[in-house]
Amino acid sequence: MALKPSFSDEISNLLYAAHGNPINACIQCGTCSGTCPVANYMDQTPRRLIGMINADLKEDVLDCNTYWFCASCYHCTVRCPADIDIAGVMYAVKRYSIWNKTYSEDLVGPKFSEAFVKTIVRTGRSYEPILAPTYMFHFGPKDFFHEAVTASKMMLKGRIPVLPPRIKRLENFKNMIRKIIPLGESS
């Protein structure tokens, strides 16, 4: 019978290029949670999330918002006494949840990431007006209004491009991407 990797092994394997120690080096000291500027908004603190991964509590880990609320500030990573790249762990769980579509439906983060990547794969550059619908329609009416006001003010100051930018060697660029991952496009 083939050996099935545990959830904690799967996440460890996704920590490609994170040069820190593996997550089972965690001593549960909580420096990450004390440092994290978003911890108050998370279902589980970073310390608890790492403990949960190590305990193979796969469903509970994937259900919580913690890893999608990570702002990539790397404060936990530079302070971890066990030298674990904790922000890198959050990226690994994000990738796992995108590939397996296991993230919670009410999160904006994964939809935003996918829309962002699609825009770049199509044009080579990012373009805010195409991205806006992926998150703005998720807002309540009040937040939607505030966001629209901010965007209009920026537009009036000439700070939002009218036309989507695109790179010149776009075909080469797309072929380059196809060599890494299939684009899933028919056109």
Binding site: A71, Y74, Y91, R125, T150, F173, I180
Partner: protein, 294 residues
């Protein structure tokens, strides 16, 4: 004259055009040429890494390869672009498998990358290449009377690149002192502005911005200096939303360090892109002591 390959990044095209203008104006004073990469692509900010790590490194490597082809080291003014470029370069240097995999894809654009270049943030150029002493020498309009909060943010200093000081850096303060201004005591200077959470978790991000504004204001700063377009937009363009959300009344100007440096070097505000702010920069000028008082 020293020359670098310059990777402006998507934000500097429009949203942060004033950073672009002031970067070019200020480097010119020190005889540094920023040669923009031809046909650069988006570095992916943080989002590529959410989807696929190898894809993310490949897209970053395309820009690095174009710089290498010109025989130039790369400079990025945006902290996220810088962090991505720095680590992709570093990983490819140390991982022959990754290098082979990425070069296999880069062939499609007639490029290859041997990781023989260095990557710098724009502020590194002023802190190290130029240095505070030379800045002081060239300043002809010292910003006397102005208290500037040095906002480092995250990705210039973190993750740690070369074993450098990440808890108590001083280079931003040194640049501000060289401008003739006073660096504010700003205990939150390394705290995150929320980054892209402003789109994906609005209330958390607005609260993160609030904490920064509060700390700068409490410590008497007249303006916050930033070195990243996302930090600038979060702190400035979302300041009104912070006021709405928390009942505060912040009106704190947020400028790029290159704009403030440009003023100290005697460059006109217009050339530095001053005037397209949502929070007026006028208080910066009213705090400056008249020249004869210098």
């Amino acid at each position: 004259m020293k020359k670098y390959a310059y990777f402006p990044g998507c934000s500097l095209e429009k949203m942060a055009s004033s950073y672009h203008k002031s970067a070019l104006e200020t480097t010119e004073v020190f005889d540094i040429e920023l040669q923009e990469l031809d046909d650069w692509n988006c570095c992916g900010a943080t989002t590529y890494f959410h989807v696929d790590a190898i894809l993310a490194h490949t897209l970053v490597a395309r820009n690095l390869a174009m710089a290498e082809k010109e025989g130039l080291d790369l400079v990025a003014p945006c902290s996220a672009c810088y962090k991505n470029a720095y680590f992709t370069n570093d990983y490819i240097k140390n991982d022959p498998d990754l290098k082979e995999h990425i070069n296999f894809a880069l062939e499609e654009d007639d490029l290859q990358f041997n990781a023989e270049i260095e990557v710098f943030h724009l502020i590194d150029i002023f802190a190290n290449d130029v240095g505070p002493d030379l800045i002081k020498e060239k300043v002809n309009n010292p910003l006397k009377g102005l208290i500037i909060a040095p906002y480092y943010g995250c990705q210039i200093v973190r993750p740690r690149k070369n074993g450098e000081e990440v808890e108590n850096p001083q280079f931003f303060e040194d640049i501000i002192s060289a401008m003739g201004a006073e660096p504010a005591y700003f205990p939150e200077r390394l705290r995150c502005c929320g980054g892209s959470l402003i789109m994906t978790n609005r209330v958390a991000a607005l609260n993160m911005v609030r904490i920064l504004l509060q700390s700068a204001e409490k410590n008497g700063a007249h303006v916050i200096a930033t070195a990243c377009p996302l930090c600038q937009v979060n702190l400035e363009c979302y300041q009104e939303q912070v006021n709405e959300e928390f009942g505060t009344d912040f009106k704190l100007p947020i400028l790029y360090f290159t704009q403030l440096l440009g003023l100290a070097l005697g460059i006109s505000p217009k050339k530095l892109g001053i005037g397209i702010e949502l929070v007026s920069a006028t208080p910066v000028f009213s705090k400056l002591l008249p020249k004869e008082a210098n």
